[in-house]
């Protein structure tokens, strides 16, 4: 039985909170824009996004950055909603990886 989900950590011992600021790289801005547009367009709900963040494995939940979690969750949500397929996504990722490799070489 899962008594307490990993993300639900309010009140547990923790280290000092170190607030940090950073400039948002382009990909983070795009993720944010996609989430807002899909939400306002009624295609997804913030509740689904939260659920999918909460279902990340504990190691991933602790390690991933804020927008890393968002993109993981958004991707999962789009697949669950049938807006994209796993195969489609996998092929696109291969294509982008090849394109990035070509730029590097």
């Amino acid at each position: 039985m899962i008594e307490r989900s990993h993300h639900d950590m309010g009140g547990l011992p923790a280290g000092k909170v170190e607030p940090t600021e950073h400039d948002y790289p382009e990909w983070e801005r795009r993720v944010d824009a996609m989430v807002q547009l899909l939400r306002l367009g009624g295609k997804i709900t913030v509740d689904e996004l939260r659920k999918n963040i909460e279902q990340l494995p504990p190691e991933a939940y602790d390690k991933l950055s804020y927008y890393d979690k968002w993109i993981a969750s958004l991707t999962q949500t789009l697949i669950q909603r049938g807006l994209i397929s796993t195969e489609e996504l996998g092929r696109k990722m291969e294509e982008v990886a090849k394109r990035a490799a070509a730029v590097r070489d």
Partner: protein
Amino acid sequence: MQPQFATEYPAVAPQFKVGERVRVRMTAPLGHIRTPFYIRGHVGEIERLCGSFPNPEELAQMRDGLPAVPLYRVRFRQKEVWPDYRGPDSDVIEIEIFQHWLEKA
């Protein structure tokens, strides 16, 4: 899908009045839950009715969350929630909790 911010939903009738003492249900189902783990089982007082909203536990599973559920702001004494709390006795913590997580204390 319904827009998330509209308030004209068929809703469950509010069951609690301002000032009434309520206990947060002590249970741990799976799914997306907005009631923090640390507050379950504690007794507080209804501070206000915030309105009625589609149930986020249902929205997270891609259902409409209707009828909407009354959401209350519930006031707890910090000393009661955290036995080792070192602030003044008058300190409180307020948490917004959906009606189905509350029972008469």
